[in-house]
């Protein structure tokens, strides 16, 4: 459950959490890339085009495997096909060829509704997903559809709104909210559903810095603590760096599949892939321009701070 954890967060929990992360990290390196045959999502040779008139495929021979409980970041420049891929997984568009398996089940017209229950998607523009007359009704909508009992529904709606800090807006019309408030409500809608797979399509793009960090740690908690499979489409390097794995989409194709730390070694190439360069790398670049040599290996912020302060303070 997402919510009780928020309240029960205490020191013990923190230690436990850190321990789990360490274990996970160790396991991760050990079983790197070892793939189970059936993941929670398996995409095989998927092709799609929006219109028969398009010469080029909008998704071109996509193969993708997502493990249960994994956090996958999807990056790529504007128009590369990220949202289209998400729509294909959710069965919102019909492939020209290829297959999609979700939780062991092939995506077909018959299985569509069953599969959609397992996927919660936060759309790039929240206005495209609002259906309720008020915020509360909107968050409840998906639950009603799934036949969740009234009492349980009320609890879940309240909790989800609390988690995104929108409880005071329960009676407001979703379209009459600020940009960031809309994004929060859209996220609450998916939280309340508690689907096995959550797809966030640039869901933090209009949040203030504090709100963005809150939502990113919420995603982290959902994935690491509660075992949700997370797919996050993002241009934000902080978000991508937390993922287990990053795939790069370019021109409708999957062009890369790597661990975040491998990706960040690429320096300025990252810009072409649709991500920012990590801050320490950018600073290194500026220092090198001024004739200062820097270590060649990838450094995160902490190690860059340490290296700089040691180099400066030893004179």
């Amino acid at each position: 459950m997402v919510v009780p954890f928020v309240y029960a967060f205490n020191i013990l929990n923190l230690y436990f959490f850190m321990f789990r992360i360490m274990v996970l990290l160790i396991l991760k390196t050990k079983f790197e890339r070892e793939r189970t045959m059936d993941g929670i999502i398996d995409i095989k040779d998927l092709c799609f085009r929006y219109s028969q008139e398009n010469e080029k495929l909008d998704l071109s021979h996509v193969d993708l495997h997502v493990n249960e409980g994994e956090w996958l970041a999807v990056i790529g420049h504007n128009g590369s096909g990220k949202s289209t891929l998400a729509k294909a997984i959710d069965g919102l568009i019909e492939p020209e060829s290829g297959e999609i398996f979700v939780d062991g089940q092939k995506l077909t017209e018959e299985s569509l509704w069953n599969i959609r229950k397992k996927i919660g998607m936060v759309f790039q523009n929240p206005d495209n997903q609002f259906v309720g007359a008020d915020v509360e009704g909107d968050v409840a909508f998906g639950l009603e559809n799934q036949g969740i009992e009234r009492e349980e529904m009320h609890i879940r709606v309240k909790e989800a709104l609390q988690v995104v800090n929108m409880q005071d807006f329960a009676k407001h019309e979703p379209v009459r909210l600020s940009g960031g408030q809309k994004q929060r409500v859209a996220i609450a809608g998916v939280l309340a559903l508690r689907p096995k797979i959550v797809i966030f399509d640039e869901s933090t793009s209009m949040l203030d810095p504090e709100g963005r960090m809150q939502i990113i740690s919420l995603i982290k908690q959902m994935n690491r603590e509660e075992g949700f499979t997370v797919i996050s489409i993002t241009h934000d390097i902080d978000e991508a760096s937390l993922a287990d794995r990053v795939v790069v989409v370019d021109d409708g194709k999957i062009m890369g599949d790597s661990l975040p730390e491998e990706l960040f070694q690429k320096g300025n190439e990252l810009i072409d892939l649709g991500l920012d360069v990590p801050y320490p790398q950018r600073l290194k670049f500026e220092l090198n321009k001024r004739g200062i040599q820097t270590p060649s290996e990838y450094m995160d912020e902490g190690s860059m701070v340490n290296w700089l302060s040691r180099s400066i303070l030893k004179n």
């Binding site: 504007n78 590369s80 790039q124 810095p209 709100g211 810009i271 321009k289 001024r290 270590p295 400066i312």
Partner: protein
Amino acid sequence: MVKSIHIEKLNYVYQSGTPFSRRALTDVSLDIKTGSYTAIIGHTGSGKSTLLQHLNGLLKPTSGSLTVAGNHITSETKNKELNELRHHVGFVFQFPEAQLFEETVLKDIAFAPKNFGKSDEEAEQVAAKMATLVGLPDSVLDSSPFELSGGQMRRVAIAGVLAMEPQILVLDEPTAGLDPKGRLEMMEMFEQLHQEQHLTIILVTHQMNDVANYADHVVVMENGGLIANSTPERVFSDPDWLHKHHLGLPQTTAFAAKLAKQGVPFETLPLTEKQLAEKLAELMPQSGGELHG
């Protein structure tokens, strides 16, 4: 000559006079000089977009008034009195979908020039040029602006605003949804317009790096009011105040604060990468320090 922006005791209440009425702005007074670059920052829901929408008369004050480019706007002002103003003020909305409406991308971008008296052909030439400038592929020019990726829609919206050659640019999170390369290119393009054509720019953003890199003024909003009206240097020199108001720092300033904690001496915390690198270059031993370890 376009005059500066003067906002006096502006109050705005959404759905005023109904049971759903909601106050969004309280006694906002602000002056913005012609040719300046002002960033407006603040929490989700603090009133930034509401304030911006007054600048081209999309919203009219519930009480108080403002003057933009010589046009005085109060609660009484009629829409037709605002046509002139809307020629001068280019507005990039928070959600690009809200400002796209034509059948094709090209027509959408050509709308303003056509409306301002250019022939169809001329207008489409301007539009094609703008489309290239904002990095839209030719292949989408005849598509519907609604059948595009999020970042592509954003680019169409920006191109449409640039095509009207405004004197005041009002930008509401104009780079949300753009990839980092597009974000940098657009910010540099706005900066160029500011430098070369002296456009007045008002930018709402959650990117403190952009505030540090481009703005000469910062306005901080909280709960419908202004809590600071100052310069980036001054606002970002007070991390405690920022923290208290749940606001962020530019990456460089946050990074430098960590160095300062380790004992690296700074008189003032730098705002941009370049400033920090300069300072570090002064402090570093010429050999470049230890390379491994």
